[in-house]
């Protein structure tokens, strides 16, 4: 009996410690995350990326940097556009991938988009250059896929973005929540489901910390997304699209760049993201 109480007490203490970590991060600025989010990573338990918690990938970037620095993970990528045509774009994706995605049903991050440089192409006016930072959670499939096959996987995502058509003041990011369906086994493309896009009223400034979060409410066939201090917004999906586990489940924090191709001048996109704090549901924590 005493042993059980002691064990419970230790567990409560551990959770309290995690929650305190979250409160500290909140006090440092960046917006709100409710106490159901507990600290998954703050880059203090090791001087380097922990392979038991993370793996990272990058595709398409020319210059790249990914390192733990000052108790934050810094992710930089740069991608120039192609110069052979005035159609389309060149892209780069930089992903920080959780090692235990099937344990995750919510992700909250405090991030700082330290730099975002985008240049447009006068002779490719239909293709803006853009950059975004996103959280994505892939947990369920509509029955079209299977293990290793992403067809029908549904990606639950929030992203903070800016493109070269923006009329906002310099450095202003906007936010959008989306539910996307993968079109093929490798998810070479994903298309938003009907009603699966919501623009949030929140904005943030490049160079300042802000929060982003995604919560999968499986029981009620909806997700909650939010940014900054604004209330979360529910985004429902039809119950029938959750038939089985995702073919390739994943959870990630990513930056993505789209550089317009351009024959009339060189375009380039570049972003540096700092990720000081990452939160998940308690069951996903890796001590």
């Amino acid at each position: 009996m005493n042993r059980t109480l002691r064990r419970l007490g230790c567990a409560a203490l551990a959770v309290a410690g995690l929650a305190l970590g979250w409160n500290g991060a909140q006090a440092a600025g960046g917006g709100s995350l409710d106490p159901s989010f507990v600290l998954y990573e703050d880059w203090t338990s090791a001087p380097l990326m922990r392979p038991d918690r993370w793996l990272a990938t990058d595709n398409g970037a020319l210059d790249i940097r990914r390192e733990v620095k000052g108790h934050a993970l810094v992710m930089r990528s740069r991608r120039p556009g192609g110069t052979a045509s005035d159609v389309g774009f060149a892209g780069a994706r930089h992903r920080l991938v959780f090692s235990n995605p099937t344990a995750i049903d919510r992700i909250g991050v405090i991030v700082d988009v330290r730099t975002l440089e985008l240049s447009a192409c006068a002779t490719n006016p239909n293709q803006p250059s853009l950059g975004y930072t996103a959280i994505t959670l892939n947990r369920f499939n509509d029955g079209s896929g299977g293990p290793g096959n992403m067809t029908g996987d549904h990606l639950l995502s929030i992203n903070g973005y800016r493109d070269t058509r923006s009329t906002d003041p310099d450095g202003v990011l906007r936010f959008r929540g989306v539910i996307l369906r993968c079109i093929d086994a490798v998810c070479s493309n994903a298309i938003s489901i009907p009603g699966g896009v919501v623009d949030l009223p929140t904005t943030a400034q490049v160079g300042t910390r802000f929060a982003m979060r995604v919560v999968w409410d499986s029981a009620n066939n909806q997700i909650f997304i939010g940014a900054g201090d604004d209330p979360d917004v529910a985004l429902p999906y039809p119950s029938q699209v959750n038939q089985k586990p995702a073919g390739v489940p994943f959870a990630d924090i990513r930056t993505q760049l789209v550089a317009a191709n351009c024959t009339s001048g060189a375009t380039a996109t570049e972003t540096t993201l700092a990720v000081p704090n990452v939160y998940t549901n308690a069951a996903a924590i890796i001590p």
Binding site: P51, L62, D63, R66, V97
Partner: protein, 286 residues
Amino acid sequence: MTTTRNALRALAAGCLLLVGARPGDASSEPIAIYEDWSTAATLRADRWTASSDPGLETEREVHGDKLDMRFRRAGGTGSDSDASFFSNRLSILNPLSITHLEVELKVKDVSVTGCPANVTPSITRAAAIDLNRINDIAPGTPLPPGDITGDHIARVEVRRLSDSTDPAGMLTVRALLFRCNNAACTSSTVVGAPVVLGEVTTQERVRIRLSWDAAGNTFRAGLNDAPDVLVPYPPAVNARPANSPFATLRIQHLPANCTVTSGGPTVGDAEIEVRSVWTNASAVIP
């Protein structure tokens, strides 16, 4: 006046080529600086392409007059056998123009851990230059794009193994030629035997080079000012051009798989500083 200026330009160009020329080159073509990181603050997309396999810390960034590269990768923890390979690559945009590749670099730091329960040691190639130009599969035999089967990769590598008994910070430089036996080159066969070119240490500035003498059916490899060593191949090996040609500088890790109960994961980590890159002069992009 114009004539004088043109003459000076010609003289300067001639000096550039002469400065770049070195004895022992495989071809009669002079070599010249392809890159010294002085013309742009970032990697030039007209000269380079790059890619990385999944990993942990990673870097390809120009700082001043050098390129810093880093790659850190952990091995799998699902078993205590075998190892997989992972790279951070910087590749010359037009590999078909390359017959000579030479890089001055410094290994700033290297670490590689092994697994006591895995007979396969971990390998870290802190730097490797690869030249892939030839394939031994009969011309006309279909090969899908990207399928590297039959391609022969010449390599000079600066490596350290987890079971090395060398002093800390010492790496071995080797030259070798190997045939890729499947589409992704996860299986390969060394042609002949690797040749040890020497030992280097971290923080030492070194120059490694590789050139292709197509007419002589030979690659030549060298370290610093030592004479080139020959890496010959049978003429039949050059049946057709490489199906996936490349001229690449990479950091590559082969961390041994290691279960957590055996002490895993193993980890490889390497940081290098790349100074000048030379190629045959005709490959230079102004």
